[in-house]
């Protein structure tokens, strides 16, 4: 019964190991797939007896409409399920566990109270079709969060409808498109700087626009002269992230807005880097006609391993009629949902936004208040400048301009055969999540570092020390980096193989 191979198979159902003897040459997976833990007859839930039915369901609905079975679905007990997913959780890096300076993603602390608030029965159990008079607290929360975002951004109206930043972008661009159309001059082009996130051109294409790329000037800044050069009567908008993905403030933004407005075009301000702007500069004052907020960044809703987020948009008055449906409004009977808005672009998702995330963002704004919010951006800017200064010797900055909440650094280790990816993988051995790498595309081998305001000085110093040690290692023993990570449960993963031979689901062994 016992054997070396067997002992390593803790957690694997013994029934299965009889069937499929493991190949001793293949290392055992860290955690079996839930399907591999399945044993026929087990269950993870007990259901109440049914004492009302006259006839069985398949007869009621018609047996010809029913399926025979659900082959392959797991059959596991509740304790197995708990252990399986807890073991999986231990294979993740996470902001709550590690320094996570992922540039442009704003991996800041997510207050745990906010998750509790979202779980209050009055919010969590609220069905979206509940009559408005029985959902006044939720509607007021929506209205209050809209009001707070208007104040923070200097915009005239806010919609919380979009599910994510990219959906906010699409909403904003469709609004701009509708506005031009309503004036009788449909326009077909959007200008996007070469430093932009990939979602900007992708959203523009989806909104039916052709993309014109604007080149950054020598200092990495977007210049009004470049926008003037690209301007025509067919340009609907400029879509620009400020601060840019280089972490620098677009100082000519107001002049750029003026050039656009002179030509009847709109300024779309991508709020991906809003964490630098709280109490520093309002998009409304920059001349923005549309801005999108990423609540999962600046307003601290958890990233969830890739969503759910929330991507509200703010607009100036002239674009308000085009906002998505419905709008929360107040009448004599209290708050209600207004759907009678003939110019609206419609809906991009069901219901009223990712409400559970809106609850968290609102709680965050209440906790910080005006004074706290202004401190957020100032501390984030302090941290980014501090890290840039401390790392200057071995990782020079991609730009000499002052940086805001994040900095883009470079290195000259390629001469030693060490890539940015190697540096990133080696950082994992120090218990630090790597920065965003190879972005923005205009900086060769970029390391984009966003420390955020919630990391302590000690953690910033530990990061600096790790980066310096990695630099020294690269000079002495580059192979150490090429082979990293060394201390994680897995060695470096072959991503190319996954794409060459896609295996996208588990299937029972034949």
């Amino acid at each position: 019964m016992a054997g070396a191979g067997k002992i390593r198979r803790i957690g694997m159902a013994s029934v299965q190991s009889h069937k499929n003897q493991p190949d001793p040459n293949v290392p055992h997976p860290l955690v079996p797939l839930i399907f591999e833990e399945s044993v026929p007859g087990r269950r993870g839930i007990d259901l109440a007896p049914r004492e009302f039915g006259s006839r069985p369901a398949a007869d009621l609905i018609g047996p010809q409409l029913c399926r025979d079975s659900l082959p392959g679905m797991p059959e596991v007990s509740e304790p197995q399920v708990l252990r399986h997913f807890l073991r999986l959780s231990q294979l993740n890096f996470a902001q709550a566990l590690q320094f996570y300076p992922l540039g442009s993603c704003t991996m800041k602390y997510n207050p745990v109270l906010n998750d509790e608030c979202a779980g209050l029965p009055g919010f969590a159990a609220l069905h979206p079709h509940t009559p408005a008079h029985l959902a006044q607290g939720a509607l007021e929360l929506i209205a209050e969060l809209e009001r707070a975002l208007m104040e923070i951004s200097g915009m005239d109206a806010v919609s919380l409808h979009p599910a994510a930043g990219a959906q906010g972008e699409l909403s904003g661009l469709l609004i701009i498109r509708a506005w031009h159309q309503q004036r009788g001059h449909p326009r077909h082009k959007v200008i996007i700087p070469d430093t932009a996130h990939g979602t900007n051109p992708a959203s523009s294409a989806l909104a039916g626009f052709d993309v014109i790329v604007a080149r950054s000037g020598k200092k990495g800044l977007l210049e009004a002269a470049e926008i003037r050069r690209l301007m025509s009567d067919d340009v609907a908008a400029l879509m620009v992230t400020n601060p840019s993905t280089l972490g620098i403030f677009e100082t000519e933004i107001r002049e750029i807005a003026d050039v656009l407005h002179e030509h009847g075009a709109m300024l779309y301000l991508d709020g991906a880097n809003f964490n630098a702007l709280l109490g520093v500069a309002k998009p409304g004052d920059m001349g923005a006609d549309v801005v999108q907020f990423n609540l999962h960044k600046t307003f601290s809703t958890p990233h969830g391993g890739g969503g759910p987020g929330a991507g509200p948009i703010g607009v100036k008055q002239h674009l308000e009629p085009f906002l998505p449906l419905p709008r929360v409004a107040k009448g004599p009977q209290g708050w209600y949902l207004d759907t009678n808005r003939p110019h609206s672009i419609g809906k991009l998702r069901s219901f009223y936004g990712n409400f559970g995330m809106l609850v968290r963002a609102y709680a965050y704004i209440l906790a910080l208040g005006a004074d706290g919010l202004e401190q957020v951006s100032r501390r984030a800017i302090l941290a980014a400048n501090y890290v840039r200064e401390r790392l200057r010797e071995h990782y020079p900055s991609a730009t000499d301009e002052p940086v805001m909440h994040e900095c883009v650094l470079t290195h000259e280790l390629e001469k030693k055969g060490v890539t940015t990816l190697d540096i990133a993988k080696r950082l994992l051995d120090f218990g630090i999540h790597p920065p965003t790498i190879y972005f923005p595309l205009v900086v060769h081998g970029a390391l984009m570092i966003e420390p955020t305001e919630t990391e302590s000085r000690q953690h910033l110093d530990e990061f600096v020390a790790a980066m310096e040690q990695i630099h020294a290692e690269a000079l002495e023993d580059p192979q150490l980096l090429k082979d990293a990570p060394h201390t994680l449960a897995l060695k470096r993963i072959d991503e190319a193989m996954a794409a060459r031979h896609p295996i996208l689901r588990w299937q029972p062994k034949k």
């Binding site: 290392p27 997976p29 259901l47 993740n92 709550a96 607290g137 996130h197 906790a367 994680l488």
Partner: protein, 449 residues
């Protein structure tokens, strides 16, 4: 402030390192007119206790969430959420991680998504599912866009009127910039509640891009997806199914089994509370031959350098961060944490649990329909239904008010979205409704009618 660790001394020290006297010097390059107007005029910050009290008071003003026996459905569903689901999704290791770009540090999220993808293929009977979408409505819109990438020369979208209004609106909004696409809204049979097959045939010509029907639909009715798919395929188009109540797939034939080329839907029923409509999670499945036209993230199996099984994001050349304006979609992230909830939920349920719960829902809903019928409240449609059905009430506002006075939220009025169904409501009964609730519903509604 409790979230901000730097002390004054540390700030001073950091500023010395940087070589500036104050933080304001770090933002001095931001144009002065902007800085001068940037002050935020909101209330001062609160203690945690104050925030908690404020949020509790807002939550308490949503009486509809807690004080009624509810029969609301129509796109979002009330189901029991096992504690194990909440316990797992509350883990900071999952909740506070980012999109798994560094696979060595994200195996937990990646493996869970791989399991999610597998479960969705099992439910839908299709070969490949993505890592999830925002919700069912946007997934439906993205499905039409995907169909258009597969068949770029075709341009007629046959959109069932029996699809949820939000889904139809999302499709229209997503397609609004693509003026060459024509949307034909196909009516429903006024007696049966399924798609009007003759009307569908009339548009199923050589320009037909795809059909899109609810499975089940807005009225809880099980559409003849097999017949619809056959019409789509005969015309050379694609068949798309959209499911807002995925529990139905525990009992009904899998969409892929009866001809759907793309099956999308909403996963909220599987372990996510209603939360006033979001976040839920969209699912998206299709055929392997079309995988390169799929939107969204995909997780694939691979190996690490020692040959150990591992998972990573894959086929990213479809995506916006590589392809930019030529990407298959602008979607950047998915609804990963919600997909995790679905994965935990379905793991607990298993094949048998899911089937039994689906049967339970069918039986309680039919029990409710029968009870109402005996009280003189008749179903509008004769088609087979899953856990919701449409009834005629006549004067809907007074019937609903009467029900509310009796502590019952009886259902959603259809008149505002379907003028032809004025006077009706859609009633949803799930395992959350006890037979006693149904007695109360009957009593309340028969009083109002």
């Amino acid at each position: 402030m409790r979230f901000l660790p730097q002390t004054d001394a540390e700030i001073a020290d950091m500023l010395t390192t940087i070589g500036v006297p104050s933080i304001d010097d770090l933002i001095a390059h931001v144009p002065a007119p902007l800085r001068a107007r940037a002050t935020i005029k909101l209330a001062p910050g609160m203690t945690e206790a104050q925030v908690a009290a404020e949020m509790q008071s807002l939550a308490a003003r949503n009486r509809g969430a807690t004080d009624f026996r509810s029969f609301l459905g129509a796109g979002y569903y009330r189901h029991y959420v096992p504690a194990a689901v909440r316990a797992i999704v509350a883990r900071s290791e999952f909740a506070t991680s980012y999109t798994p770009y560094q696979p060595e540090a994200s195996q937990g999220t990646l493996q869970a998504i791989f399991e999610f993808q597998t479960l969705i293929t099992q439910l839908t009977g299709l070969e490949v599912a993505n890592a999830s979408m925002y919700d069912g409505a946007s997934a439906a819109a993205e499905a039409v866009l995907m169909a258009h990438r597969i068949l770029p020369r075709r341009n007629v979208v046959a959109l069932s009127r029996g699809l949820w209004p939000d889904y139809r609106l999302a499709v229209r909004t997503y397609l609004s910039a693509l003026s060459h696409l024509e949307i034909e809204e196909i009516p429903f049979d006024p007696n049966v509640g399924t798609i009007a097959i003759d009307s569908l045939r009339a548009v199923a010509g050589d320009r037909l891009l795809c059909t899109l029907v609810g499975y089940p639909n807005m009225f809880g009715i099980v559409e003849p997806l097999g017949a619809v798919s056959e019409i789509a395929h005969q015309a050379g188009g694609l068949s798309i199914s959209a499911t807002a109540e995925p529990l139905a797939l525990g009992l009904l034939k899998a969409p892929g089994e009866i001809g759907a080329d793309i099956a999308v839907g909403e996963g909220q029923s599987f372990g996510l509370p209603p939360q006033f409509g979001g976040p839920g999670v969209g699912f998206f499945a299709g055929r392997l031959a079309h995988v390169r036209q799929m939107p969204g993230r995909l997780v694939g199996e691979t190996r690490d350098r020692e040959g150990r099984r591992a998972f990573c994001l894959t086929l990213a050349t479809r995506e916006q961060h590589i392809r930019r304006e030529r990407a298959t979609s602008n979607i950047c992230t998915n609804h990963s944490l919600c997909a995790l909830a679905v994965t935990v939920y379905l793991s607990l349920m298993g094949a048998r649990g899911l089937r039994e719960l689906a049967e339970h829902n069918v039986e309680i809903a039919h029990y409710a329909a029968d009870r109402l019928a005996s009280a003189g409240i008749k179903r509008r449609f004769s088609g087979p239904f899953f856990n919701e059905f449409v009834v005629d009430l006549g004067d809907v506002p007074s019937a609903l008010q009467a029900a509310e006075r009796n502590g019952v939220l009886a259902g959603l009025p259809l008149g505002p979205d379907y003028p032809e169904l004025d006077g009706t409501i859609v009633i949803c009964a799930t395992e959350m409704n006890q037979p006693a609730d149904i007695d109360l519903l009957c009593e309340a509604l028969s009083k109002g009618v």
